[in-house]
């Protein structure tokens, strides 16, 4: 606040001096110039009357000549005084308006306001560095889940976009370089409610700098970073960055999952992706046959080892192997956008094509050309820019990969439902049939909508009533947490995916399992089950109703849950 006041005062010095001088001269003139009273006797205006007259004259050009009509000499002086005072006023007001529009002044005001907002944050928040496609997707989904965030981006345009966007929560945005520690501190790195830092800029070095600054200044914070190269990843891991997300590795890993266990891939799509309309259909990437991979960049390099590990024959198409490096199995020279190259790669007998260059136009062209030559192809398409969304929707690829969205979704799961992230990890220990059974149970619960997932901690904040019942020694099992509070005897359209007790994680815990204080439970199911469940968790009366219901019908315990 200080700097703004001082800035105003310093700029207003000259206009104020001019005002004082003009008023002084005008008043003095009226006092010195002789006048006449109503009887024609000589009369001198006092300082009081002179100041009174000049005051209203300057601002309104007069109520008239008072207390007596002026002599010509006085009128002559009035003429001078009018122009002088009006000019001084215009000068002062003009300076003030120019000051308000001054970029330095505006910046000072914005920074001040931002700092005040950050100081007043009372809810836990995450610091998100970079508000591009990834950052905006992440912040939007966090805001929808009532999770506060503070954004830093170097582009003023992006911060303006953030201000214009209709978020459910207020998200403060700072325009600045996240690689400068001062900006991180201004954005609340040392704030006691800061829970973690997410570095999602498109420059690896900046992400690295953010990670190292955060780990040095606040070692207790969760730091999540995007990294596009192995060296940077290794560097980040070396000083304890909690999660490092590489979009291409993440996607390749998921593709591998799709080849190995399509149902697990499906569950991943259902639970890990937000904002999809309808329940995504299962996809079955061909696990044998020829795959043509166009582009041997970061994407191709991540995908090819996964395909080869699954025993798939791969042909690489790359136009500039001198820049990307020559793949060990050799490559077909060309972009893949022309029929000739694709024929040379063996498109006629191919089972799948991966359009994975860093150019959206080329990727679209590859898919259209390839489909013209072989309509039955399985298509994996890489989308680089969010603004091409409409075109990529139209082309209906079997699997679409958007690096920014991949990162945003992974980070969202990490921050909002860490237990879901653990669940995805332990799910891989199960086989495909287990996942298929889970998928059909889920589909039965939610119909044609994507399932929602949420985490509950058996503690006072999340589950007041349950916590109290446990403290009184009354056992509560999972089936009771899934009881429908409005329809006694029925259960909610949801199921418990995982229960974490300390380091131990139970997959698909039995409804008869008794919960304990401190358990974290991951539920998933119909979106309306969550608010209904909150009644059972939090309201002592509602939970008592569930207890009564359970006692009255002990013989068919959990029947509705299992059915």
């Amino acid at each position: 606040m200080d700097s703004i006041i001082f800035l105003i005062l310093r700029r207003m010095r000259a206009p104020l001096l001019a005002m004082v001088a003009v008023y002084a001269v005008a008043v003095l003139g009226f006092v010195l110039i002789p006048g006449q009273d109503d009887q024609g006797r000589p009369w001198h205006m006092g300082f009081f009357h002179a100041f009174y007259f000049v005051s209203f004259m300057g601002t309104t050009i007069g109520f008239g000549e008072i207390p007596y009509p002026f002599t010509d000499a006085q009128r002559f002086w009035t003429l001078f005084a009018i122009y002088a005072t009006v000019t001084a006023w215009i000068y002062s007001i003009g300076t003030l308006i120019a000051l308000v529009q001054d970029p330095a002044f505006k910046r000072a005001v914005t920074e001040q306001r931002f700092a005040r907002r950050i100081r007043r944050m009372v809810d836990p928040f995450y610091l998100v560095c970079g508000y591009g496609d990834t950052g905006s997707a992440l912040v939007r989904s966090m805001a929808q889940r009532n999770q506060h965030a503070v954004v830093i981006d170097i582009e003023p345009l992006r911060i303006e976009e953030l201000e214009l966007e209709a978020m459910p929560l207020y998200v403060p945005g700072l325009c600045g370089d996240a690689a400068v520690p001062r900006h991180l501190l201004e954005a609340g790195l040392e704030h006691r409610r800061c829970e973690g830092v997410v570095a999602l800029t498109n420059v690896n070095e900046v992400n690295l700098k953010v990670a190292i600054s955060s780990k040095l200044l606040r070692p207790d914070l969760v730091v999540v970073c995007r990294a596009d190269s192995r060296e940077v990843e290794a560097n980040m891991a070396s000083f304890g960055t909690d999660y490092i997300v590489d979009p291409f590795e993440t996607f390749a890993d998921l593709l591998g999952l799709g080849l190995r266990a399509p149902c697990q891939f499906l569950i991943h799509e259902w639970l890990g992706v937000e904002g999809v309309r309808g329940l995504p259909e299962p996809v079955y990437p061909p696990a044998r046959g020829l795959w043509i991979v166009c582009g041997y960049g970061r994407f191709g390099k991540a995908v090819i080892p996964i395909l080869e590990a699954a025993g798939i024959e791969v042909v690489v198409v790359e136009a500039t192997p001198e820049r990307t490096g020559m793949p060990p199995q050799g490559c077909v020279l060309g972009w893949g956008t022309e029929a000739e190259t694709l024929r040379e790669a063996g498109i006629g007998r191919a089972a799948a094509i991966v359009a994975g260059t860093n150019n959206d136009t080329n990727n679209l062209s590859i898919v259209m050309t390839a489909r013209g030559l072989n309509p039955d192809l399985f298509v994996v398409l890489r989308q680089n820019e969010a603004r091409n969304e409409r075109l990529f929707q139209e082309i209906r690829a079997d699997i679409r990969m958007h690096p920014s969205r991949t990162v945003a979704e992974k980070v969202r799961v990490l921050l909002n439902t860490p237990l879901l992230h653990r669940f995805f990890e332990v799910m891989r220990e199960e086989d495909n049939e287990w996942a298929c059974e889970l998928a059909s149970r889920l589909a039965g619960l939610v119909g044609d909508r994507p399932p929602a997932s949420w985490e509950v901690e058996i503690a006072d904040e999340d589950a007041h009533a349950v916590n109290r019942a446990l403290a009184q020694g009354r056992p509560v099992d999972l089936g009771m947490l899934l009881a429908d509070p409005r329809r006694p005897g029925r259960s909610l359209p949801a199921l418990a995916l995982a229960l974490q007790r300390g380091e131990w994680i139970e997959r698909l815990p039995d409804p008869g399992l008794q919960v304990a204080h401190g358990d974290r439970i991951l539920f998933c199911g119909h979106a309306r089950a969550r608010p209904a469940q909150a009644w059972v968790l939090q309201n002592v009366q509602v939970l008592a109703g569930v207890f009564r219901e359970r006692e009255s019908r002990p013989e068919n315990e959990h029947s509705s849950v299992r059915g």
Binding site: L9, R10, L17, V31, F47
Partner: protein, 127 residues
């Protein structure tokens, strides 16, 4: 030599000298306290105050504070004087004149502090 400093010092010292000159004389005798001189004191003090605006140093802040005190005292004195001459039925009594002068004397003190601070700052300057 910095012309800005010359103007700055000039007005601060002038504010004190004019103010001092106005206060001199019998306290309750209007003939010893000309209204023109009082007008000059008010104007010069206002100018001195504006000149001190926007200085972020510690000494600048104290300088501004002393000037604000002086201006406040002088405005009170001028309001009192105006009231006595134009509004009050009794007119300008010796008692009123005495309080106008005493208010102005307070402004003298504030201006003295201002000049002392100016001198201190100048002495502290290392060549």
């Amino acid at each position: 030599m910095n012309p800005e400093k010359v103007v700055f010092g000039f007005f601060i010292v002038l504010a004190l000298t004019l103010n001092f000159g106005f206060v001199l004389g019998d306290m309750d005798d209007p003939a010893h306290h000309p209204v023109y001189e009082f007008f000059a004191v008010v104007v010069v003090n206002l100018i001195a105050t504006v000149l001190k605006l926007g200085d972020r140093t510690q000494i600048g802040a104290v300088l501004l504070a002393t000037s604000l005190v002086a201006v406040l005292q002088l405005l009170a004195a001028s309001a009192l004087w105006t009231y006595a001459v134009y509004v009050s039925a009794a007119g300008l009594t010796p008692a009123t004149m005495a309080s106008v002068v005493s208010l102005s004397s307070g402004a003298v003190l504030a201006n003295v502090i201002s000049v002392i601070l100016l001198v201190v700052e100048t002495v502290n300057l290392r060549r």
